[in-house]
Every structure is written in structure tokens, then in C-alpha cells.
Amino acid sequence: MKTYVAQRLGIAVLTLIGMSMVIFVLLRLAPGDIVDILFSTAGYVNESEKAAIMKELGLDRPYWVQYLEWMRQMFVGDLGKSYRYDIPAWDVIRPLLPVTIELAILSLIVSVALGVPTGVISAVKQDSSLDYVLRVVSLAGLSMPSFWLGMVIILGMVSWLGWIPPLTYVGPRENFSGHAIQFALPALAVGYRSSALIMRITRSSLLEVMREDYIRTAWAKGQNGRVVIWSHALKNAILPVVTVIGIEFAFLIGGLVVTETVFNLPGVARFLVQAILWRDYPIVQNLVMLIAIVVILSNLFVDMLYGVLDPRVRYGS
């Protein structure tokens, strides 16, 4: 087990180094550099000023030096300085983190709470009209852009309930119910969309398990139908679902990017979009790296979870 964890951690670190290279190269693919973009919005180019900015940002050095410098900063936890705010990036990002983490966890809960039961019902009632309805509803969730879903939810709340989304973030301590509504709606929008994947994999995985001998045995001995499905079958069917929840996390973060923008939540994902629009590349670089680390860690966590959920899975060798 220990060697397995060490091995997986090693691969994770290598993958992260690879990702950092990809991100670094992608952001430098563009013709011209950050300074050109800064000047093109200003409408003129002042050569000496340009050289000064290049030097200040360290852009006059060769690429490999820039890359190593970035890696060094990442290693000591220095996220660089924001162009826009002119303060350390970490000070900008830190207050935004709780918002995104809360929203991500709530969305994950919604997607599992919606996806697993509907997947089970759909599998048990295979090919019935209920199965068709559930599949179409879940596929529709996968097809609607989450930002649009968010907009429609807000519109509906406004016109039917007269609820107007607060323009600013409401903290949980100052106004708990306002805070709850502010988070419940986006969590519902993101969670519904993500639940589609979970529903589909639960359904197909359960259908497969239900054909196995031990399930037939359970039916044959007269076991209660609910126990057979929810306890016997689901226990084995849940493994692929857990994998998907791990992969889901990456998918969910993509959904957060636009949902935070639509619901006006001051989170990291919305900040990423703003940083890209402002061409605040040091921040973009580090935020994407942060996302990559979260995704890799969640996948690692899911792999470790296997051993706990399924005693047959043995690590090592």
C-alpha cells in the first residue's frame, strides 16, 4: 500500500510538471507578448517604457529561465503579483477561495443526491416510460449550458417570486438565509448538469451488476426487493460511480467558471475569467495550475478510496 501511494504521488508530481509546461507554452503561443497587449489597449507603443516593463516583469529573459523562475515561485508558494491590483496574487485569491469551495461542495452534493437515485430508478424500471423520461431529463441537463440555466433560474425567481439576486456577496454570518439562497440556486444549476453523468453511469453500472448470479440468488431466496437493489446490487455498482465523481470534479470546475459569473459570486472561478480578460497572465498561469493540482489530488483521493470501498482491490505488486 505504501509503495503504491508513493508511486501514485510520483506520477502525480510528474503529471503536474508536464501540465505546468503545457500551460507555460500555451500562454506563450500567442504572437506578441503581454506587454504588446497592454500597449495595444493603450493605443500607442513607447519603446523605452516597453523595455522597462519587460524588464520589470522578467520577460526579457530566455523562456527557460522564466519557466524555472515560475517553478521556483510555485515551490515556495509565491503566486506572483497581480498586474491589476498591484498586490500579491495570493492576497487577491485567498478571500475568494471559501466561496468556490463552498459552491463546489454544494454542487457535488446536489449532483450525487440527484444522480444516484434517478440512476437506480431508471435501471430498475429499464425501458419503461419512467426510464425514458428520466433519461431525457438527465440528457437535457447535460445539454443546457449551465450559464443559461442559471439565467433562466434567476429570471424565474424574479418574475414569479419577486426575488432579486443580491448584487453583492452575502456572508453566512451576516444573513444566513440570504446566503443560503445565494448559494442554493447556482449549486442547483451546476449540480443538475453534473448529475446527468452520475445518473447515466449509475444506471449502466447497476444494469450490469443486476445480471450477476449473486443477485439472482438474492431474488431466489425471497429477499426483499429494496434490499436487493439498494444494498446488494448498489454496493458493487457504486465503484464506477465513484470514479465518475472523481472525474466529475474537473467537469464541475468548468461549470463553476460561468456559474459564478452569472450569479455574481466572488469566487476563484469568476476571478479566473476576469484575469484572462485583463490579460493578467501571471495570475491566470497560477490559477490554472491551482485547478490542475485540485483535479489531480481529487483523482488520487478517489483511487485511494477504492481500497476502502472495495476490499477486493489490493494495491501494490
Partner: protein
């Protein structure tokens, strides 16, 4: 007592060993009957393609002509779906948006799937170290959330239709490579491949002429499934202001303008472009699911 193989063969009329290949209409009819949802998806996609191709004839107004006298107009006989904040006709913009959406969706799907497919084919056929290194590299690309990768790419390349297509195709590459590699791995072990090699056919020729044609099924399934997600990513990028630039009407950008200021005053600005995006993606998802059930032999019967 079992009949000897020789005797058994005598009884079987050779002509009927292989049933006559069903005509394409019969195949289509069977598909519609067995996969009604898939057929519905196909209809949606066909309608979208026809709309995109006939956009100049289907429009009722110039999609980029503004009308200061009639902004944020409600749907009327003249403007079927109303007008936006600049007085542009929403119906005509949605019709032309189908063209943009389809161009970017199909373009990026094909680009990403072909590049990924070639990588998957070579990686799967060669195996060994090449395969291992390629797979690790694909892990790296796939580890980044699709939207974030496309967002960074698009921001870095700058706004243009060509760049949006490239930006969206990059995240598709690892997904396509995985699918094609998996099917190459099983085809590679088949006897006819071994026979081709024994006859002295070159490796590249075996890979491209003998193995590649058999990956067409998974490839079509892959493309259909990715088309929906590509359309969605294009809409999202345009919504965030990093997708298809003006003056092309894009469904995603139509939403971004209306979202900010006019949603309350004119809900139809939010409703119609979103319905168009959802329908297009829904159609390709439905079709993709049905095709996967039909064409992918590994999933046949298991669903």
C-alpha cells in the same frame, strides 16, 4: 451424435449463408424504430444543418442591421422572436448563429478527432514505450478541465473563428486518442492484421489501410458525442467574451449581452438563443447515444 462438419456444410445452400445486404432505407427505418430518441436527435441535427446552409434565405432581416427605433422589441409579426438592445432581429440572428455554431462545432470536432485519432492509431499500433509516453502526455492534457483549457487557449490565440476552432479542438485530442487507441489495441491482435504483416505489408500501411477503416464506428460515435460538447464550449467562450468575434452572430454572445443588462426588461433575449443552444446540443447527445449503442459492438446489448 453430432454430424461431421463436412456433412453439415452440404446441407447449407451457399447463397443463403449471407443474407442480402439491407438497403439503406431499411436500415434507416430500423434505426428509427429501435432508437426513437436517436432518430429525434438526428432530426434536430438535420434541421440545424439545413437552417445553417439556408440562413440567407431563411432570414427575415439582415442579422447585423440595427434599428434604433425598435430596440428590445417584443416578438411581433415583423420580428418573430423580437429584437435585441440594438434593434437587431433575433430570429435572423439565431438562424445565422446556427451557421457559426455548426462551423465551429464541426470544425473543432473534426480537427481534434482527426489529430487525436492519428495519435491514438500510432500509439496503439506501436505499443511499448511510445505508447506509454504518449499516454502520459494525454493524461496531462486531459487533466485540465476542458473549458479552462479552451479558455486559456482562446485568450492566448486571440479572437477569431479560426482560433476558436483550434482552441476547442485541443481538449478533444486526448479524448479522441483514447477511444481510437482502445479499438486499435483489439483490432491489432486480429488474424487478418497478422496475415497482412506476414505478407510483408509495411507497418504504416497496415496501420492506415488495414486497421484504420475498422475504427470508423468508434470514430463516428466519438465525433457525434464531441459535437455537442464543442457547440457548448463555443457558446460558453462567446458568452464570456472570448469566442467568436463580432460581427458574426453567435448564440453564446447573444446571451452575454442580454444577461448583463436587459434580462428583466426583455426575457425573450435570454430565452431564445439558450433554447437554440440546448436543442443543438441535446440533438447531438441523443444521436451520439443511439449511435454508440448501435455501432459500438462492445456496448451492444449492455447499454
Amino acid at each position: 451424435m453430432a454430424a461431421s462438419p463436412v456433412e453439415a456444410r452440404v446441407d447449407v445452400p451457399i447463397v443463403s449463408v449471407r443474407p442480402a445486404a439491407p438497403g439503406s432505407w431499411t436500415t434507416l427505418g430500423r434505426f428509427v424504430r429501435r432508437k426513437p430518441l436517436g432518430a429525434a436527435g438526428a432530426v434536430i441535427i438535420v434541421v440545424m444543418v439545413v437552417t445553417a446552409l439556408l440562413a440567407p434565405w431563411l432570414q427575415t432581416h439582415d442579422p447585423i442591421a440595427t434599428d434604433a427605433a425598435y430596440t428590445l422589441g417584443k416578438p411581433t409579426v415583423d420580428h418573430w422572436l423580437g429584437t435585441d438592445h440594438l434593434g437587431r432581429d433575433i430570429y435572423s440572428r439565431i438562424v445565422h448563429g446556427a451557421w457559426v455554431s455548426l462551423l465551429v462545432g464541426l470544425g473543432s470536432t473534426l480537427l481534434g478527432s482527426v489529430l487525436g485519432g492519428i495519435i491514438g492509431l500510432l500509439s496503439g499500433y506501436m505499443g511499448g514505450k511510445t505508447d506509454l509516453i504518449t499516454q502520459r502526455f494525454l493524461d496531462i492534457l486531459q487533466g485540465l478541465p476542458l473549458l479552462v483549457l479552451a479558455l486559456v487557449m482562446s485568450a492566448s490565440l486571440g479572437p477569431s473563428i479560426r482560433n476558436v476552432i483550434i482552441a476547442i479542438s485541443i481538449p478533444i485530442i486526448p479524448r479522441a486518442a483514447r477511444v481510437i487507441r482502445a479499438s486499435v489495441l483489439s483490432i491489432r491482435e486480429m488474424q487478418y492484421v497478422e496475415a497482412a504483416r506476414a505478407l510483408g505489408v509495411q507497418h504504416l500501411r497496415v496501420a492506415f489501410r488495414h486497421i484504420l477503416p475498422n475504427t470508423v464506428g468508434p470514430f463516428i460515435v466519438l465525433c457525434t458525442a464531441q459535437l455537442g460538447s464543442a457547440i457548448l464550449v463555443e457558446a460558453t467562450l462567446s458568452f464570456l467574451g472570448m469566442g467568436v468575434p463580432e460581427p458574426y452572430p453567435s448564440w453564446g454572445r447573444m446571451l452575454s449581452v442580454s444577461a448583463a443588462e436587459y434580462a428583466q426588461k426583455a426575457p425573450h433575449l435570454v430565452l431564445f438563443p439558450g433554447v437554440a443552444i440546448s436543442l443543438a446540443v441535446f440533438g447531438s447527445n441523443l444521436l451520439g447515444d443511439a449511435l454508440r449503442d448501435t455501432l459500438d459492438p462492445r456496448l451492444r446489448g449492455s447499454r
